[in-house]
Symmetry: C2
Subunit: 199 residues, 2 copies
DNA sequence: TGTATTTCTTATCTTAAGATAACGTTTTCT
DNA sequence: AGAAAACGTTATCTTAAGATAAGAAATACA
């Protein structure tokens, strides 16, 4: 990973949430950690407290839950230039109930919880970081809202069609059995829906 | 409604999100609007932009979506001492896709979007309000996260049992056919689940 | 109080989803 | 290149959910 390019990219994708002047940016940069995950490596595992808030510079990750019988259930995906964390665990400081795993070799820029608290508390960045945190949380709140609305107002088939229409990377880059869980159904069921739609 | 008591109650329930000194509180109070809704009145209707963030001092509300065929689908409930808004619409300044309706005579303390922006921009309250907004959004993000996890990892029956165990007011105070939608199923289906569980 | 409305359950029928297994294909790994 | 693992589809069987209608019980209301 090239930290210089990664930082530049990060700064650009932070724009909607926080715009830093040079001074602030320099300070913000001192809190960054650059981490690479090999395919199948974990960013977080259930039972552990998630200590980092991440930005995906390159690659993709899968969020999943482990059922009692050992099967895993995919909850979400994130791709390059998106943020990533086991939010609830990160925010509440409690053990995560999910795993986040790299689906390909992935480059991350991380901010630790401790760093975040320091920035929130510091004179120079505090106000801006509160706003950053607010805008990020609001952004994801809206995404989650859409997701819940889809679950209560649409059938699995309708949800799949919406996903098709959305043109998101998910369909192109994710195995179908992961997408199935994401839609709240089994892989077999998704395969049947696909067949039905073809007609 | 007694605005004095309502303000006192609001301040108490804001504690986890924002603690104001007397000065700040006095200023914050100048932005409050006190509104009462009669049973079945709407706080927001689909198609309109939600201009207020509310606190329920007394009463309860139901969030619902209107399907194409005119049936309504309940998405959520909020009770006294909880916050309430059509968040996505409020945050993104776009028309709401849902309705929020009073289920009984309800007392609200509202902050308009404009007031919120003024407070966020003001010297005295800005920093604190950013934090307030962040903590509120994070709080609801966690709730939504749980809800989505339930949809992808649990069966309707399991979701109902969890709701039973949670001891939330929903079961005691809401008609069953509203709860059914909330769980992502039809009222008939919930009735069958209840019967099954009784055995 | 009496009527209307809402709410919940039950029954029937239809449709779809879950569980499981088998099979061919593709991908991964060494 | 060859073996192993992962992936997607299909078939069968079972179970549960949706749609619809009817009726009883509870509630609202005028």
């Amino acid at each position: 990973m090239d930290p210089l390019k990664a930082k530049y990219n990060y700064r650009e994708h932070l724009q909607p949430f926080a715009v830093f002047n040079e001074d602030e940016w320099a300070l913000f940069c001192t809190y960054m950690e650059f981490v690479s995950l090999k395919k199948k490596e974990y960013f977080i595992e259930a039972g552990k407290v998630c200590n980092h808030f991440g930005f995906i510079n390159k690659g993709s990750v899968r969020y999943f839950h482990m059922a009692n019988d050992g099967t895993d259930i995919t909850g979400y995906f994130s791709f390059e230039n998106e943020f990533m964390s086991s939010y609830k665990s990160f925010v509440k400081r409690e053990p995560a109930n999910n795993y986040i795993q790299a689906l390909e070799d992935t480059e991350l820029i991380l901010i630790s919880y401790k760093s975040m608290q320091e920035m929130l508390a510091c004179e120079k960045l505090g106000h801006k970081m509160e706003r950053f945190g607010r805008l990020i949380a609001e952004y994801y709140l809206c995404c989650y809202d859409d997701r819940i609305t889809a679950f209560i107002t649409q059938s699995p088939e309708e949800r799949y069609i919406k996903l098709l229409e959305s043109g998101r990377d998910i369909l192109r880059r994710m195995p179908q059995h992961y997408i199935a869980n994401f839609l709240g159904i089994t892989p077999v069921s998704l395969s049947r829906i696909r067949r039905r739609i073809l007609v």
